[in-house]
């Protein structure tokens, strides 16, 4: 019996030793010499591998920074300015401040505003539904409500509202841009978070003329141009019957919001408006 044990031990030890020697030489041969700074930068990154920076994961981002030799054009949306500052400190470089952004859903074609005229029966995929037809509400630009954006989000920062059938972005969105890519109708846009998280945007991407747009959805942008005229900062432009508010020019004055005849312009996180009487409005405009 002892002999059996002995043989087992000896053969296992021999096997282990041979493998170790082989592995040692293989490791020597295929050794990759890397800049140690890559590891340092990589450790400072959030490690979410969200791809929001435009690179294939955090490690690739770190490699690219080292390769480029400067932080110009690099930004980590997941970690924000804090991460970039710490990376800059580690490397002795300077990081440019970037304005934090957040995803914005530019469609308000809820079940009430754009009631369904037909019903879809098929794969749960916005991409396929977009290929198949205009949408249950008939709007060929609006949200299809099949949650491709929700599935694309690795931060759990977006969910489908069961009442309206539209996605809602939560505050923990870091603007990695995954949902922007996932949406086949380019409804989601990354916009600056704005002061005190206040934002004004046109919640519609329909480029049809007024009448057909309005036919399918009561809150569609009809391209009337009233908002463009009222904006004191020339922040609003009109293209293909669709108004767009440039967030870098918008000063959040809110003048355009009540002007919109279809309530297509949305304001977020503002204090409730004072009820303005016509007299006050007259004096204000003087």
């Amino acid at each position: 019996m002892n002999e059996t044990f002995l043989y087992a031990v000896i053969s296992l030890v021999a096997l282990g030793a041979t493998s170790a020697v082989i592995l040692f030489f293989v490791a020597q041969k295929f050794k990759v010499i890397e800049d140690p700074r890559i590891d340092i930068v990589n450790d400072a990154l959030p490690g979410a591998n969200c791809g929001g920076c435009g690179f294939a994961g955090c490690r690739n981002f770190a490699e690219s920074i080292i390769k480029a030799g400067s932080l110009e054009g690099f930004s980590c949306p997941a970690g924000g300015n804090a991460t970039m500052t710490s990376v800059a400190e580690l490397l002795g470089m300077v990081a440019a401040e970037t304005e934090p952004q957040i995803a914005v859903i530019r469609c308000n074609g809820s079940m009430i505003n754009s009631p369904a005229k037909v019903q879809l029966d098929g794969a749960d995929s916005c991409a396929f539904a977009h290929y198949l037809f205009a949408g249950e509400g008939g709007c060929s630009h609006g949200c299809l409500g099949l949650a491709d954006c929700v599935r694309s989000c690795i931060f759990d920062a977006i969910y489908m509202d069961s009442e309206s059938g539209l996605p809602i972005v939560k505050d923990n969105c870091i603007a990695c841009g995954a949902c922007v890519k996932a949406c086949p109708r380019a409804i989601i846009e990354l916009r600056d978070k704005g002061k005190k998280d206040r934002r004004i945007f046109v919640s519609c991407v329909n480029q049809e003329k007024g009448a057909p747009a309005k036919k399918n959805c009561s809150v569609a942008c009809i391209g009337c141009g009233k908002c463009v005229k009222v904006c004191p900062f020339e922040a609003i432009t009109m293209n293909n019957n669709l108004a767009y508010i440039d967030y870098s020019k918008c000063k959040l004055c809110r003048k355009c919001v009540p002007e919109c005849p279809t309530d297509a312009i949305h304001e977020l996180n503002f204090p409730p408006r004072k009820i303005v009487t016509t007299e006050e409005a007259a004096t204000a405009s003087v």
Binding site: A123, A127, F128, A134, S140
Partner: protein
Amino acid sequence: MKTFALGGVHPEEAKVSAAKAVEILPLPQKVIVPLGQNLGAPSKALVKKGDEVKVGQLIATAEAFISSNIHSPVSGKVEKVDDYLDSTGYRRPAIFIDVIGDDWDSTIDTSKEIVSEISLSSTEIIQKMKDMGIVGLGGATFPSHVKLMLPDGKKAEYLIINGVECEPYLTSDHRLMLERGEEMMIGVRILMKGLQVQKALIGIEANKPDAIQALTSLVAHFPGIEVHALKVQYPQGGEKQLIKALLNREVPSGKLPIEVGCVVNNVGTAFAVYEAIQKNKPLVERIVTVTGSNIQNPGNYLVRIGTPVRELLEKAGWNPETAGKIINGGPMMGKAVSSTDVPVVKGTSGILVFDQEESKRPNVQACIRCAKCVSVCPMGLEPYLIARASEIGMYEIAENEHAMDCMECGSCQYTCPSARPLLDHLRLGKNKVAHIIRTRKN
């Protein structure tokens, strides 16, 4: 009996309208003639608001190589050239015409007399087919004259005429072969002359014995044409499957039938070619089958292009209260329509209306890896694998698994015991893979 070798399914045939003779649908009050009725580039409108048009007048012209002319299907006044909502709900350009009377262009021979003498040469035939706006009427609407213009160095050996009509429910080709057999055969002769081939094979599935008999009795007068009965099997009407069934030749992956010396045309196309060449009549009307569980009087109708689908449905007696799904085409490959205002186009071979109970797909369950989709795929693909790859966005895998070979016949989804939306995902995958291939080339 001959059939193709690989895969295939046999859905319930349900050809309830097979015995109904073709009826002429009364003229509608208004037609919508879409500018994109063919595969390839849309045509360019030649008329504008207020113009008066006659039946057969050219109203839109082909500008690209793969495109086709469009002629006015009615006489009247152009109401507008504007966007209309197509069957998918997207906006596409179309010509709207208010119908006034039925005034045909004077060059068109509207008599019933059959002209059998073929006087035009090969190139003249192709040119005239182009002028008359002939497209493939089997459903793909590929401009027919382009099919006859063979690439350099290729020579056609056989003309294959598709009288298979493997889609369940549809009977328009069946009725055409029965009622206009002789004209169709002349059309085949014209196509043979245009292609400069000596042999033409007509493939007809065995569930149409009367059509097989009718055409076989005509064969003696038309040298070079053979009629073959084929075993009933879907998708035999796919051109690659039809060539395989008739000649046992396999078109290589990603290639056209001319690679094996064949050109395939539909019987409806052959008839349209006869009318265009011999009677000077452009493609302004076609036979449409109206059928389905919701239709009281299923039948076959001769319909002007541009007629709203609603007119057809009302004529055939549909019940809007219980209708659940309207399909443009057959149940296997047809497109569900989102409104009854869409017009009949050159590619509309049938309108199918299902009751609500029939309109819903069965509940989707987990894939049980039964391999039925693999065994029925006529292209020898693995639908479960490609569908999964495209579902999770791995389009490279879909491409490596030859997603582009898929002809979207729907056999996999039809047969799937778990009722998985295989073809939905496959279509999306194909779409993405095609996009990837295009960007790679650029």
